[in-house]
Every structure is written in C-alpha cells, then in structure tokens.
Symmetry: C2
Subunit: 147 residues, 2 copies
Amino acid sequence: MDETTPPTLTALSTYLLSRVGKAARNRLGEQLAPRGLRLWHTAVLAALADFGAHAQRDLAARLGIHASDVVKVLDELTAAGWVERARDPADRRRVRVTLTPAGRAALAEQEAAARAVQEEILAPLDAEERALLHDFLLRMHRELPLR
Amino acid sequence: MDETTPPTLTALSTYLLSRVGKAARNRLGEQLAPRGLRLWHTAVLAALADFGAHAQRDLAARLGIHASDVVKVLDELTAAGWVERARDPADRRRVRVTLTPAGRAALAEQEAAARAVQEEILAPLDAEERALLHDFLLRMHRELPLR
DNA sequence: CCTATTCATAGGTGTGCACCAATGATTGGT
DNA sequence: ACCAATCATTGGTGCACACCTATGAATAGG
C-alpha cells in the first residue's frame, strides 16, 4: 500500500511544522515520561536556572502557563526535591521558588535527553542547515503570543 | 515583569520546534473549529483529492491514523456531504470512499485557511528563508515514523 | 466447506493540555 | 480602618488525540 502523505498537505509549511513539532513533542515526552515528568517541569526548572528564584506568578507570566497549573507542577517538583517553596517575607502572599542543587542536576539530565531527541529529529540536516533552522525557529518563536 | 523565555529552552531546536509547531497546530485548529473540523478532516480530504478514492483501511495506513478513528472522521465528512461511502463490489468488506465536488471545494477553503495561518507564523521570514525552511521540514518529515 | 483473517464499526479508556470559578490569606489605596 | 485587588491553592471542566476491545459481515486458504 502506498503510504505517501498527500502533496496538498506536504506543500503547506504549516502542516509540516505542526507534524514535525508534534513528533519532537512526542519524543521529548517519551524521554520524560519514565521520570514522571512533562514538558512544563523542564520549563520551570530552566526558568529558575536561567533567571534565579521566582514568585509563582512570575513563573506563570514568563512561561505563559496558568497560575493554577504552576501550582501543580511545583507540587511535583518539590516532591522530587528539585525546588523549594518559601513565603516571601516582604509580601507574604507570594511564594518564592528556588532551584535546589538536585534540581539543577535534574535539569542537566533533561537537557541531555532533549539533545538526544534533537539528534533524531534533525538527522537529515547538516550542521549549517541546523544552524539556519534554529535561527528561523528563534525568530518565529519570538513573534509568537506567549499565551 | 520580564517575560523572556529561558535561554536553556530557546537553545534547544527541539523545544522551539515543539512550541512553534504547537502554535501552528493551534492556529490551524482555530480556523477549522468554527466549521466543526479538526486537522484529520482536512488530511482525509487531501488524501482523496491527491490520490483518488480509498478504502478506509488505506486511508488509515496513508495517514497513520487508527482505523476506528477514520470511521468517526468519515461519519462527519459524509454528514457534511463532502465524501461518499460505497461498498466495494469486488470485496464487500471494504468501503470505498470518494470525494464529492463539495468536498473538493471545502478542501480548497481549508487550504486557504492554512495559508493564512502560514502567513502569520512565517511572518518573520523572507521568501528565500521560507523556501529553505520548507525544504528542511520536508526532509525531516520524510524520516518521521508515520506512526 | 470451514476456519482464520480482514474490514468497518461501536463504544470506551487514558493522557496531556488549557482553562475556570471559588476560597483564604495578605496587601495596598484612600 | 476598610474595601478592593493580588496571590496561591483547590478542585474541577472540556477538548484533541491516540489507543483498545468486541462485534458482525465478508473473504481467503487449506
């Protein structure tokens, strides 16, 4: 049986983007799932590593994630000992979230997993093409609504 | 508040791919939703337009979608009058699916919607860059497991 | 001929993702 | 001192997506 994807679809960058993106997402998910993680866990750890401690509301704003979902992600990250919550003494409504050394180590592992996935997905491209692709994606990403 | 995405994430093509891809997927979905459609509807119409009538199992194989899900998509496409189901007289287990003229017209509209989304997402890229991106995506897509 | 396989169908599950409303504690504005 | 707004939290909802099982009709292979 012919399994060729319809040219009407492959002619659309949008379609390819959504399909390749989904593949990337799925493979990333498969890497994280065994550790009981989803993409937001990594994103939160990365935000803390790159920008230091955040109030939860700032994490939500930076990542474009719902405040109520931040709570749930942090519940799991604290349970893993990767993150610590502490009331902000200056404003006791806020909870200050900090990355633990264990959290930093976990992030490094997750980054490595992501790079392994990258190797799979970008396999057909040479180094120069990968650099171009990354530049294109960065520029598109920058214009995206953070939602 | 600083809403910069963590560099640890934006350094990963995989992350950008999954994020930009999701945006593309979402915007496409928003275009189709008012008409009660999802991406698979368009994909099925495209397969029929590009390769002619299919048995349902062949649609499933070509698109990498579950046979039981094909049934549901076709239920809706037939209800819209875009597709017709007929028993294959040569093998009466099979159902031969054909595109109606209305279906072809609907596909054209959906393509136009997809191109509009494309215009949004690819806005930061010039024509040459878009062509390069499309080539990259095509090559990556070709190596993807059809699932 | 009859048994195993194929095909379409019906009905259901689980997961990830995004979003929403209600609540209690705390703060800021006036 | 009070009222309105902010923040974290709880406990949901709904959707898209992918997958699974069981069933009946039809076919193919020995």
